[in-house]
Amino acid sequence: MSLLGLANLTKSFGGLMAVNEVSFDVEDGSIVGLIGPNGAGKTTVFNLITGNYRSDRGMVRFEGKDITNWITHRIVKLGIARTFQTIRLFQNLSVLENVLAGCHCRMGSGSLAAMLRTPGERREEKAALARALDELAFVGLAGQEMQLAKNLSYGSQRLLEIARALSSEPRLVILDEPAGGMNGQETEALIGTIRQIQQRGITVLLIEHDMSLVMKACEKIVVLEYGTKIAEGPPEAIQGDPKVIEAYLGMED
């Protein structure tokens, strides 16, 4: 069953066609990779799915619901969480509070409940704290709860972004270059984490330049070049696709 479906999604910035008539499906429970040379429009596709940009044309469907151009926080609440290519953590807040941000949309207490500290509010806070600690343990950041986010290593910051996304209890998590800035060993561990995310029943859509990660982790790969989809299929088929090879290697001197 298709969890996320893109149909003829189009976005241009001025005269530049960033995303041109892109369509593909993400099956429920799968790991899908979105690859392409720099500037192919991968991140723009992500920003269109998560409502950071408004699309010019086309449709985004999630669980059969048309979510095109919904406002971002509603999309998160519906079950799509994301990480950012350029790390966007709350740098001056603790690691734990960064993860609690993800829990926010599953909580309901407002300012009045906070000032009165109602029993419901206390229960909710306790549950959120437990959940946040679980997610930190899941990505391997247990024991660093009270550090400030900015004091973490680059690789750990990427993991923290994943933990924050997961704590919003998503059905689909979108990872924008999760291995960016990681060394080989960290990338290996990340592949394990991504598979574990899948085992939890969460669908994964990711952008990645590290081909070993993409080929190892993804079940399906979508290739973009100049904003247009040029190929789609399982890793083996993509590796042998002449159009993909041309896109990546064609400009070789």
Binding site: L93, L96, A101, S111, A114, M115, E145
Partner: protein, 318 residues
């Protein structure tokens, strides 16, 4: 952590008995410090916690004060009963004006809030709707009464303002350490990331703005009751600047910081009255030095503490 509670306890006790040892002049200075502390704390929600630069906070203070003055003098409603009414009018005013401007970025929003403050002050000066009494303002606001006891002397007001301030600190402390408090901090740190984490950023911006304004409105009610006469000049741009500076200098997002800021800003100039004009010079120089050497304020916001399980606590803190 423990010694801190003792320090706060001692300060609280000293302040509770202070009026018995001070003359009315100094009690009145402390009253002003208290009022500015309440205003500072309300602005701290907006500026310190949410990172929304608001340089027009005196406008909401004014709306509260004028609401109290008009309803008290025209309808004879006791001023303390008007506290919730003042909160509502100031909050409503903030909601209406912030709706179209709240999406503006830091510096732009800042300029707009200055404009709003000035527009309101000029409107009040021009006797808008024939209710505000023009440049002379409104006089004859009745004294507040608690269970029949009329609050008249500075000493009486000291306890009224002190109670209000204590309640404010108590409630705002809880608010800071909650889902709401965290949400506005996420907003300040990175709006895009906050929205991407599932936080309704425009809702929280509006909510924190209205809440801060409503609190300033209540402070306005107390102010009107204390002065018995209010005029537009009490709510000029300088007042907004003082409130803003109290927050920034004391420590954005920090309750102890804002309290210290109001003592320094409102109390200290009285102590140095002997130096006459030089005091403002010293004051300005101190501010410049502060902003260079301690940009986050005198008592910066501290990370919230959470009840972590023992195992995590052990290896947790850096």
């Amino acid at each position: 952590m423990k010694y801190k509670m003792y320090i706060y306890g001692v300060i609280f006790t000293v302040l509770a008995v202070a009026p018995y040892f001070l003359n009315p002049y100094w009690v009145d200075v402390l009253n002003n410090v208290g009022l500015y502390a309440i205003l500072g704390l309300s602005l701290n929600l907006i500026v310190g916690h949410a990172g929304i630069f608001n340089l027009g906070h005196a406008a909401f203070f004014a709306v509260g004060a004028y609401t109290a003055a008009i309803l008290n003098t025209l309808c004879g409603i006791p001023v303390l009963w008007l506290l919730p009414v003042c909160a509502i009018t100031a909050g409503l005013f903030a909601g209406i004006i912030s709706r179209p401007i709240i999406h503006l970025r830091g510096d732009y929003l800042c300029i707009v809030t200055i404009g709003v403050g000035e527009i309101l002050r000029i409107a009040l000066t021009n006797d808008i709707f024939g209710l505000t009494g023009g440049p002379n303002g409104i006089f004859g606001i009745s004294r507040p009464a608690v269970f029949g006891y009329v609050i008249r002397k500075p000493h009486d007001f000291y306890y009224l303002i002190g109670t209000f301030l204590t309640v404010t600190i108590f409630l705002f402390h809880r608010l800071e350490n909650s889902r709401f408090g965290r949400a506005v901090n996420y907003l300040r740190e990175d709006e895009t990331a906050a929205e991407g984490s599932g936080i309704d950023t425009s809702h929280y911006k509006l909510a924190v703005f209205v809440l801060g304004a409503a609190w300033a409105g209540m402070a306005g009610d107390i102010f009107a009751a204390k002065m018995t006469i209010i005029a537009p000049e009490s709510f000029n741009f300088w007042e907004s600047v003082v409130m803003f500076a109290i927050v920034i200098l004391g420590g954005s997002g920090s309750i102890p910081g804002v309290l210290l800021g109001s003592v320094l800003f409102v109390g200290l100039p009285e102590v140095f009255r002997d130096f006459a004009n030089a005091r403002m010079l010293i004051f300005g120089a101190a501010m410049v030095v502060m902003m260079i050497v301690r940009t986050e304020g005198l008592l910066p916001q501290r990370p919230r503490s959470y009840a972590l399980p023992e195992t995590q606590k052990a290896g947790g803190s850096p």
